[in-house]
Symmetry: C2
Subunit: 340 residues, 2 copies
DNA sequence: GTGAAAGCGCTAACAC
DNA sequence: GTGTTAGCGCTTTCAC
């Protein structure tokens, strides 16, 4: 089917392209009657404007990019859902890019966002990313970037995070209150600032309770599942294994369960576990998993909302906003009872 | 920063816009030396072409749309990952749209794809969708649509599915071999063809084994979590509750576990459960969940690959392809032992 | 109220 | 090898 455009509509109606364009935009300049005719034909021929012609002319794409490390994990899936929802409601389109935890890919993707493809970017940095120059570069081109969850403090832009320090503190304090003596924090990257805040919260909670440094281990698991498994296995098979674990990301919980099962370590009697996780399986695991649950969909919505607000005002000065949403410590059976 | 375009490059180099354009495309017409100068300046000024100007001219956007009902669930997340990966490798961009199971939204989204925004569409239909006119309409505009997982048989286009009938048959046969007597299939929509194939597989497996119709119930849970929970609860609390369940989608497993736990029904001793699911928590549940696992990432890759192949040949006639990938029945503890 | 015309940044046909 | 030109489909200013 040949595509219908303004010109074909105009010809059919005996009007000029300009008039048809204005009529479709419901401009005050055009008579009611003409608007009616135009709209009727447009509908009949199923006219939709060519978005790229419009973008080219208006220098506005009505699309945003969402750049995230992965999508397999519940957190990012839920965040994307939140983003898509507000984008759809505002008539924006959402391009999705995965960095697969590579800062190189991340840089290239942002570079490709600089020339009109998108009006703005929502970014959660890769675990390798340690510089914010690529972000600043993009913003030099007047493309706002809003960071969420995995942010870079130094980047001069809006950021949506959760209370990483506080929630880690609370999770750790909870373990201490359950009488755990030997705590371990399972980390997945020593690069991510978000992770470092959680580590600080972990350490401070224990320092406030006069734990010795040896009782506050931070174990660097890698991002690779198999390696992480090995490292956790070593930890749990060792003579001085911890009796309380704070796992920093969702994917670390399954290996802990599996290994405890294999080694006949009873959760929660011998080991209490709390995990930063958004999985819907938490209540159904045996024992049910105590989680720090991030408001993932809300974060996505907040990030998108701030980005759209920025775009709306982007004539004026854009004041970076910083939003910190609270995570919820959901206590379940994996931390129940007192450690002995 | 003012954006650099072909014109500014050309002026700076004392060349014409056309020459610069060709040089950047590494055209054979341009001298090595000129190419060198152009490339050097382009790199120095960090030039990237305006994609929409190019799209408008070439009538090709190098972007595709992925339209799916949801993204919270592991299947679609993994599928999207597969799609994104091949798109990235081919230099394509991926727009994502969620229908939230509304065929109305789905129709509107496809309508918006008709005017150049995308070169092709990957679609998994909503559970409400019972007509394929919106798909045909889009294809009338020469935008290929490839369906995956939730397909519409009648749509005259390429489809990627899994062996829904076979895998449901195998899952059900497995329950029968474990000596289950009273089987139930938990369904989530009576609209989806995929689901109906699974139901047929379920029924046929039992018919082949001479089960009475009363021993082969199909329970229509709704898509709403709370309602589904109630329905499953009624089923499991009833005097003639089943001793074997085939759950047709991932999200039905958690309520079954939760309800069995609450009602003190032992899995697998009193109830065996197999679920179509891609969750990574399956091995870690207690008991570990027997699953029919779809090759989700592979399906995404296959769908994208076929779409790109179609786009490449789209001068010629596009012969619809039908790919059926095998799901894996992964037997775990939730179906172990013999029912009594 | 309507229309003519310029131009967004690029590509491609064609001239030189 | 390089340049000129037309035009993709739309928006917008300005004239009538």
């Amino acid at each position: 089917m040949s595509r219908v455009n303004l010109q074909s509509l105009a010809k059919e109606l005996g009007l000029s392209v300009a008039t048809v364009s204005k009529a479709l935009k419901d401009s005050y300049e055009i008579s009611i009657e003409t608007k009616g005719r135009v709209l009727a034909l447009a509908r009949q021929l199923n006219y939709t404007p060519n978005p790229y012609a419009s973008s080219l002319r208006r220098k506005r794409s009505n699309t945003i990019a969402v750049v995230v490390p992965e999508v397999a994990d519940s957190f990012f899936s839920q965040a994307i859902r939140g983003i898509e929802e507000v984008a759809q409601s505002k008539g924006y389109h959402v391009l999705i890019y995965l960095t697969y935890e590579s800062s190189d890919k991340e840089r290239k993707i942002l570079e490709d966002c600089q020339n009109g493809r998108v009006d703005g970017v929502l970014l959660s940095v890769s675990s390798q990313t340690d510089s914010h120059t690529h972000i600043e570069h993009l913003m030099d081109y007047n493309i706002p970037v809003v960071l969420f969850d995995r942010v870079l403090e130094k980047a001069h832009t809006s950021k949506i995070t959760t209370d990483d320090y506080d929630s880690a503190y609370r999770a750790t304090a909870h373990l201490a209150e359950c009488n755990c003596q030997q705590l371990a924090y399972l980390s997945i990257s020593d690069q991510l600032e978000m992770n470092n805040h959680r580590i600080h919260g972990f350490r401070q909670a224990l320092a406030d309770r006069h734990f010795s440094p040896e009782a506050c281990r931070v174990i660097h698991c890698t991002n690779d599942t198999a390696t992480a498994h090995t490292i956790i296995q070593q930890l749990l098979a060792s003579p001085n294994r911890p009796d309380g674990i704070v796992a920093s990301v969702e994917k670390l919980a399954p290996p802990v369960y599996a290994i405890c099962h294999a080694l006949h370590i009873n959760i929660p009697a011998q080991l209490k576990l709390v995990c930063f996780s958004n999985t819907s399986y938490a209540p159904v695991l045996q024992p049910a998993l105590t989680t720090v649950t991030q408001p993932a969909t809300e974060m996505g919505k907040a990030a998108a909302t701030i980005l759209f607000k920025t775009l709306k005002n982007s004539g004026g000065v854009v004041k970076p906003e910083q939003v910190v949403l609270p995570s919820a410590l959901q206590v379940r059976a994996s931390t129940s009872g007192m450690a002995t």
